[in-house]
């Protein structure tokens, strides 16, 4: 049953990726702006633009361009960037490690803070720690990332001189971007963890285990927490996918050259091959993570495979 479930989800993922490739291809081609004109600039005559379009294959029907692009993917060729004049794959994969690093650091920081906080708040509902946790969550969900990023730089770099403002390398460069990106997700997970714990703690089986005299700490961590975990894994999985797609704002504020900044730049330059490939890579990352989340959830709660 479990493997059937996994195979079905893999099949769905493949269909999603095909759909994304078509939509990404059409969207960027529909958007106003001619890549040939952008590359050649004002001084180019209409004839030069037309010749360049021909060179890029943009004079061919859309479906021909699409199948050429897809055919290239199967040969490991994502095309050539019109702005970098280099293979798209080389550019994307030079930036992808930065995005993965930031994503992992963000998720780690947010989970380390939010899971214990959410559980403690749920267990101590209505007490001071619960109030503190909710204040933390509301602030995190209300604050703009731009503002938070600039504020973090101002406090920790300019005033306290604890952390560097820009750059990549050691751990110190990762802290501020990861906190800025992680705080909103941390707030969300704290809320989910709290409400999940409150719901689970009301279940009869929890009352029964407590009545049997099993230590409360064991009940909370072994029985209650496991059941409160499913929505958290789902939301963290989705956010993981979103972060792998790049966090344009945080990457820009902290000069972190990741996928988000690259996507923004590629759309502006109407770099067709780059945009299509980025969207596909991002969609693939998102789909694979969703698949993993579903598999983990199915392992935690085998009833999911029956639905």
């Amino acid at each position: 049953m479990f493997w059937k479930f996994v195979l079905r989800r893999i099949g769905q993922t493949v269909i999603v990726l095909i759909c994304v490739s078509i939509i990404a291809f059409l969207l960027i081609h529909i958007a106003p702006g001619d890549p040939a004109r952008i590359v050649l600039g004002d001084s180019a005559t209409d004839e030069m633009v037309e010749a360049y379009r021909e060179k890029l294959g943009l004079d061919q029907p859309l479906y021909v361009q699409y199948f050429k692009y897809i055919g290239g993917i199967f040969k490991g060729d994502l095309g050539t960037s019109t702005s970098y004049q280099q293979p798209v794959a080389k550019i994307i994969f030079s930036r992808f490690p930065n995005t993965i690093l930031l994503t992992l650091a963000t998720v780690l920081i947010s989970l380390v803070i939010s899971i214990p906080l959410g559980i403690i708040a749920g267990v101590h509902q209505g007490k001071a720690i619960d109030f503190f946790a909710m204040l933390f969550a509301i602030l995190g969900q209300s604050m703009s990332t731009v503002w938070l990023g600039v504020l973090n730089i101002y406090i920790f770099a300019v005033k306290l001189k604890l952390l560097p403002t820009i750059g990549t390398g050691g751990l110190e460069y990762l802290i501020l971007p990861a906190i800025t990106l992680g705080y909103p997700i941390s707030a969300q997970v704290t809320r989910l963890g709290r409400s999940g714990m409150i719901d689970v703690l009301r279940e009869d089986y929890i009352t029964a285990t407590l009545a049997k005299g099993i230590p409360s700490s064991k009940v909370y961590t072994k029985y209650a927490f496991k059941n409160a975990l499913i929505p958290i894994i789902t939301i963290v999985g989705m956010q993981l996918g979103v972060f792998l797609g790049g966090a344009v704002v945080v990457e820009t504020i902290f000069s972190w050259s990741g996928i988000g900044q690259l996507t923004n730049q590629a759309v502006g330059n109407r770099d067709y091959a780059m945009v299509q490939s980025l969207l596909l890579v991002i969609a693939a990352a998102m789909a694979i993570i969703n698949l993993l989340v579903d598999i983990i959830n199915a392992k935690i709660d085998p009833r999911i495979t029956l639905q």
Binding site: P32, R37, Q85, S94, V150, L162, L163, I166, I175, S255
Partner: protein, 541 residues
């Protein structure tokens, strides 16, 4: 549970302490080295710090990323800055209209201006040790002939027909007609090594070898992050800079760049088009460490009309009324915090500028504008004023202009669109009027006048044979005084006709450089050059 909570608190505290300790290390380093750099550059910074002197690495924040490494295809100001450090051309522009010998020591042209002979410098080597000679010049110029889509070719060399090696140190460049901007074109064409290019092709650039004859050589480029250079030991020019390494950081967010500068992570923040006036207040309190340098640029913001038959702006009086209704000085003062009013398409730093040339159409006079508009057939047809997000303060400027002109009877609205969208509109003529910025390299109006007016690249549909004839003559006349006069005459027509465009303002750019850093040239044409960057401790306050 209480025990668990205590454990959690301990864990969080430990994490915070670890983070702080790591951060303190980083902070101490940057403070000690006064902007000694980060990452790769940081190692060099440490070395300097240990010796008790200022770091031998200078770190500069730039507001734009570089994405094109090919010196013949990248034409942004960042490309200009890096190419100037890594390569040499046959002659070098001072970006104020003057030229000096570079890889060529002397040059002369035939009487008809179609054959130019350059005598090359001997004893020059590329950064890979390859000797420079006429073959490198032939290779460079032949590449531009073979591939006219390269940006340097399409911008400068549409009349280049050949390049000939006369001997090892003499070359001839052949044209099918004279071009007025010949010296500018030669100065924009960087010489690449023949043997390395034959062997590697464009990998020479894209795999980051970038062998040039310049004072500096490339170490590493990480897309979106940094571009490092060190002194070129083969350079024919003496490079006695205090700095051994120049580390450029790409910082797209202005507030981050300024904060980095204030903390000493970088030594200068150079923004394309200048640091926005409203951001300068962030530097308050750093007056004894950082100098804000105002630069009078030749970059103008201009408004181009759609003049085709049936458009409201086909009538010159509608255009004139529109121009007179704009309160340029208030926009300059309130939106840009400084600058000047250009006349037509010429600013004080460009050819064709004439201080005697004045025009009522550039004076804010809403009463006269309203009276003039009432004499026309304009009847409240909706007009959209367009601009793109790359134009500095576009939205505020467009709102102010729209309010100005609506007050005298126009019916305008504004749209600020993405760069590619406006480019598409301009290339099809699908607009009522638009505002963008334009810079004139070396103060030469050739590109602006030839492409934007004579060739009507942006489809204004304005045709004036007399104007086009003046621009055409200026494009081919090698005599700079004559060209200046021709552009002045052309500008006079543009001002009188308010077509196809009107000038709105000349931008004043502000850049921020720490005291002690010298040799950064902030040219009035919008370029910034770092080739001679150096350090003078006596200037540190």
């Amino acid at each position: 549970m209480k025990k668990g909570f205590t454990k959690l608190l301990c864990l969080l505290l430990t994490l915070c302490m670890a983070a702080s300790l790591t951060a303190c290390g980083g902070g101490g380093q940057t403070e000690e080295t006064a902007g000694g750099g980060t990452g790769a550059a940081g190692e060099a910074a440490d070395a300097g710090a240990e010796s008790g002197d200022r770091s031998k690495t200078v770190t500069i924040a730039l507001s734009e990323n570089i994405i094109e490494l090919d010196p013949h295809n990248g034409v942004t100001v960042i490309n200009g800055a890096f190419n100037d450090m890594l390569f040499n051309a046959l002659i070098r522009a001072d970006h104020e209209g003057g030229y000096e010998p570079d890889l060529a020591t002397e040059w002369e042209s035939s009487e008809d201006g179609t054959e130019w002979t350059f005598h090359l410098r001997e004893g020059v080597q590329f950064s890979n040790g390859e000797a420079f000679n006429a073959d490198d010049v032939v290779c460079t110029y032949q590449r531009l002939i073979d591939d006219p889509t390269l940006a340097v070719a399409s911008n400068n060399w549409s009349h280049l027909t050949g390049v000939e090696k006369v001997d090892d140190y003499t070359v001839k460049i052949l044209l099918d007609q004279p071009i007025g901007t010949m010296l500018l074109a030669v100065a924009s064409t960087y010489i690449i090594p023949n043997e390395a290019f034959e062997e590697m092709g464009t990998s020479l650039f894209y795999d980051q070898y970038m062998y040039g004859t310049g004072k500096w050589k490339m170490v590493e480029w990480v897309d979106g992050q940094y571009f490092n250079m060190v002194k070129n030991e083969y350079s024919w020019e003496e490079n006695d800079s205090y700095f051994d390494e120049v580390d450029f950081r790409f910082v797209l967010e202005a507030s981050t760049a300024i904060n980095s500068h204030i903390t000493g992570d970088v030594d200068a923040y150079i923004a394309s088009g200048g640091i926005s006036a409203d951001m300068l207040s962030m530097y308050a309190g750093t007056e004894d460490q950082i100098e804000i340098i105002p630069v009078e640029t030749s970059t103008i913001d201009y408004l181009q009309f759609q003049c085709e038959e049936g458009s409201p702006f086909a009538d010159p009086d509608v255009r004139r009324a529109f121009s007179m209704a704009i309160d340029r000085q208030t926009i300059i003062d309130n939106v840009f915090g400084g600058g000047a009013i250009p006349i037509g398409i010429a600013s004080e730093n460009t050819m064709g500028y004439d201080p005697e040339l004045t025009s009522d159409y550039y004076n804010y006079d809403p009463e006269a504008a309203k009276a003039l508009l009432e004499t026309t057939s304009y009847n409240g047809e909706p007009i959209v004023i367009s601009s793109n997000v790359a134009t500095t303060n576009a939205e505020a400027m467009l709102l102010a202009i729209s309010e100005n002109v609506n007050a005298i009877g126009f019916n305008t609205s504004i749209e600020v669109v993405e760069g590619a969208t406006l480019l598409e509109k301009r290339s099809t003529g699908d607009y009522d009027c638009f505002i963008v910025a334009a810079m004139s390299t070396g103060g030469d109006l050739f590109s602006f006048a030839t492409f934007r007016i004579q060739n009507d690249a942006h489809h204004s549909n304005y045709v004036n044979d007399e104007l086009n004839s003046l621009i055409e003559q200026a494009a081919i006349d090698p005599d700079m005084d004559m060209r200046n006069d021709l552009y002045r005459q052309a500008n006079e027509i543009i001002v009188e006709e308010c077509a196809p465009m009107i000038g709105i303002l000349t931008l004043e750019a502000n850049e921020a450089i720490s005291y002690g850093i010298t040799g950064i040239q902030l040219a009035s044409d919008g370029f910034f050059l770092f080739k001679d960057i150096d350090y003078d401790p006596s200037l540190v306050k």
